[in-house]
């Protein structure tokens, strides 16, 4: 039991930490590619300065995403060897393809982009950042297809003789409705994250009236990005809620702490009650909303935890099939709440910075913009904690219990060692990375281009070097 808890803590810590960097990398790489495209087409020096400034922050962040990603792949074999044995036939394929198709693309072309400023033609150099950005998006698709198979196993059968799940239809795994839903939801969330990041840094500079020629367009770009992406997050979130109700009704019931089946079901914004749900002390409810979220109809029936638990015992035998209810309930609300708040900021921001606005942008908005930086990161983390904890006690829904996935040969001191080592290392890196990000964000963009003497025959230093 101890090993299971420690391995789960390690998975949670390294995954949430890794996912602080990934969404920003994905969103920002596309935004930087867009900025460079604007420079390529207009030759406007402001866009070049934007590309270089945001590109540098992208690189600092990218490095952290890469190094923490290695642990992600290896810990399945290290801490979850029985899981790996059981699902490798299905789960390994998207992982391997992610490496071959996506990781090579992003790492190789990002290397070319960083060091290729004076080695490649303008168009080729632009293509490099786009290919790296495409690589990050592809990588998200494959890893989410793998994860979605755990949420909603399709295209596979269980081979009792070999004691494992086996792939029978790879197309079904790649086109899993859960994977498509998760991909769209995650990618739009990545753009909210990158947008809020660009907004925060821009707002900080604009509040001090610095580099306005670079940060005003940056802020507008950020606001438009966040607005569009937030709408996308809402729409795809709605789609996912319905899929979840259909595929993992227990997760939906836990998300609402709904103990008994009701129709129509209300959505509670805030509830204080006893943990087993027998008493509700205080609650703010919006009638019929849960019915709508879950089924698409305002009168839909939503199944309760007690009924689902009884049904699960019928199917899988005795046991506890409920996830941690308070954790699921709150992370679900925090995800939605933080996400909506980010969207709201973009609406307000776009109104305040609209072209015909007579008054200058009020200072409080800059403060809000800077503070808003926590929102996407908190929402992303809460979202993953919700979706992973909500699936418990299953590692693969209805197929393999999490408890049956841990490595039998790994001892408690070993798991504890790795948990401590990685947590301390990640903590230290968080400090360093935070320091560098803040320093570089505050430093601002490079100065406008001055006529560069390129005609000399002597040795010319590289444009970019470590």
């Amino acid at each position: 039991m101890m090993n299971l808890d420690l391995a789960r803590w390690q998975f949670a810590i390294v995954t949430v930490y890794h996912f602080l960097f990934v969404p920003l990398t994905i969103g920002l790489s596309v935004l930087v590619a867009g900025m460079q495209t604007a420079w390529y087409r207009t030759d406007d020096d402001r866009y070049l300065r934007m590309t270089k400034f945001w590109g540098k922050l992208l690189l600092i962040n990218f490095a952290m995403g890469v190094v923490t990603g290695i642990v992600q792949e290896f810990q399945f074999g290290m801490n979850w060897s029985d899981y790996s044995r059981y699902v490798g036939d299905i789960f390994g394929a998207p992982l391997a393809i992610e490496g071959l198709l996506a990781f090579f693309l992003e790492s190789t072309f990002l290397g070319l982009w960083i060091f290729g400023w004076d080695r490649l033609s303008k168009g080729l150099h632009l293509a490099c950042i786009w290919l790296a950005a495409i690589g990050t998006v592809l990588s998200a698709y494959f890893i989410l297809a793998a994860n979605s198979w755990m949420q909603h196993p399709v295209g596979s059968i269980v081979n009792d003789e070999r004691g494992r799940a086996e792939l029978v239809d790879f197309g079904a795994v790649l086109t899993n409705s859960t994977a498509v839903g998760a991909f769209l939801h995650t990618i739009t969330a990545c753009f909210v994250t990158a947008g809020m990041f660009v907004l925060a840094v821009s707002a900080w500079h604009l509040a001090r009236d610095r580099h306005t020629e670079v940060f005003r367009p940056s802020m507008r770009l950020a606001l438009v990005t966040v607005l569009i992406a937030s709408l996308g997050v809402v729409v795809t979130g709605d789609l996912q809620a319905r899929l979840m109700t259909e595929q993992q009704p227990m997760k939906m019931a836990a998300a609402e702490a709904l103990y008994d089946t009701v129709a129509p079901a209300s959505f509670s914004l805030f509830t204080v009650g006893s943990l087993d749900g027998s008493q509700e002390l205080f609650s703010v409810r919006v009638p019929r909303i849960l019915s709508f979220m879950a089924t698409g109809s305002f009168d839909g029936e939503v199944e309760g935890i007690n009924q689902l638990q009884a049904a699960a015992e019928q199917t899988y035998g005795p046991g506890d099939y409920t996830p941690n209810i308070p954790a699921t309930y709150w992370t679900f609300r925090l995800m939605i709440g933080f996400g909506l708040l980010a969207g709201l900021i973009s609406v307000v921001g776009l109104w305040l910075t609209r072209r015909r606005a007579r008054r200058p942008v009020p200072r409080w908005f800059y403060t809000v913009g800077v503070a808003g930086l926590v929102l996407p990161f908190a929402a992303n983390s809460a979202g993953w904690i919700f979706t992973e904890m909500g699936r418990q006690p299953w590692a693969v829904y209805g197929v393999l219990r999490t408890a049956d996935g841990v490595s039998p040969s790994v001892t408690t001191p070993m798991v504890l060692t790795s948990l401590i080592v990685l947590t301390l290392l990640y903590g230290a890196l968080a400090v360093v990375d935070g320091y560098l990000m803040i320093r570089y964000a505050k430093a601002g963009p490079p100065p406008a281009a001055t006529a560069t003497p390129t005609d000399t025959d002597g040795p010319r230093p590289l444009a970019v070097a470590y």
């Binding site: 923490t68 792949e73 490496g99 090579f104």
Partner: protein, 347 residues
């Protein structure tokens, strides 16, 4: 040829690619304090691998992913069995990766020196431990009937494995030194060439010893070919390096690494992880493999995309083919060490 054999071969190819490519950037990392007496020289050394080290490392990720997909039992037994060794490798790779990216970001000697330690240690530890790991894979480890590893970290630190570790360490040092002398001019080149001679000698002794031991203890008869190729290539590399034929020297060290990997995988086949407890408990290409259906899909993906990856990675090496020296290195571009009142960047 069965699909399982094809995948054994493909995984061998991925590891070969990984050792040939990351091998030289490990070498460059290890030799950093020896070739880079001045800050400029250290930057020259680091920039020879700057554009490519990350792409090189992806070979490892793909090798890991491919093992997971094609031989899940191998992946599970190996990664859980070699737990602490892998943890060390992971920590080393993490520190090394951020060190490359972060060292130039702050313009301070202390900052850079600390990250340089990260680069050196982060390059040396995996270079040593990959050899230890592969020697153990070839020699076999205690596996029970469920293919679970029953040994401890000490089981892995046997004389044969330690020699394997020293062999990869010296080989990668040589490979890195030769790469450095191929990619630089000036002081770094001179020092790298001198270092390559010493690393070459160590490689011939340690790598040769390891290969002979492997051949005698585990290798089928035909592996005498790659063993001899490795020996000839190593000696040839040392000679070519002495005559300043760096391109040839690099080609030869790469050949030696290929030959060593071929020897190791050739000695392993058809097992993928032999059991030293009872040969009946060994994992082999059949009982560790995924279903033919999965292997088929993966084969198609590999056949279509591997040439594409090889093409653009080769192109990267072509783009950055020029030698660099101290004169090519621009002034430090990092921000000043202390955040004073002035927030304006210094460039």
């Amino acid at each position: 040829m069965a699909l399982t054999d094809i995948w054994f071969l493909l995984i061998a190819v991925l590891w070969t690619g990984y050792f040939v490519l990351e091998g030289f950037d490990f070498g460059v990392g290890m030799l950093l304090p020896f070739v880079g007496r001045t800050e400029k020289d250290r930057r020259v050394a680091i920039n020879t691998i700057g554009p490519v080290w990350d792409g090189n490392e992806v070979w490892l990720l793909v090798a890991g992913g491919a093992t997971f997909a094609a031989f899940p039992e191998w992946y599970a037994s190996l990664f859980s069995g070699f737990f602490l060794a892998l943890l060390l490798i992971l920590v080393a790779l993490i520190v090394r990766g951020v060190a490359f990216e972060f060292r130039g970001k702050i313009d301070s000697d202390r900052w850079r020196r600390n990250w340089d330690i990260g680069i050196v240690v982060g390059s040396t530890v995996p270079a040593l431990l990959w050899g230890v790991a592969f020697a153990n894979i070839v020699a076999g480890v205690p596996l029970d009937a469920d293919h679970e590893f029953t040994g401890s970290l000490l089981t892995l630190l046997n004389p044969y494995a330690l020699l394997g570790g020293l062999a990869t360490l010296s080989l990668f040092a040589l490979h890195g030194a030769v790469f450095l002398s191929l990619k630089t001019h000036g002081d770094v080149r001179t020092r790298s060439r001198a270092l390559a001679q010493r690393a070459g000698l160590a490689s011939v002794v340690l790598g040769g010893g390891f290969l002979v031991w492997t051949f005698l203890a585990h290798g089928p008869f035909w592996t005498v070919v790659p063993v001899l190729v490795a020996a000839a290539a190593l000696i040839g590399a040392v000679l070519a390096n002495a005559r300043a034929r760096e391109g040839w020297a690099f080609l030869l060290t790469a050949t030696a690494i290929v030959a060593v990997t071929v020897t190791l995988f050739g000695s392993l086949y058809p097992d993928v992880l032999p059991s030293s407890t009872d040969p009946a408990f060994s994992l082999n290409t059949t009982n560790a493999a995924s279903t033919p259906y999965t292997l088929q899909i993966m084969t198609w993906v590999a056949v279509v995309f591997t040439p594409v990856v090889l093409a653009y990675q080769s192109w990267t090496f072509w783009v950055f083919r020029r030698r660099i020296g101290a004169a090519d290195i621009p002034a430090a571009s990092g921000l000043p060490a202390r955040n004073g009142r002035k927030d304006e960047p210094v460039r």
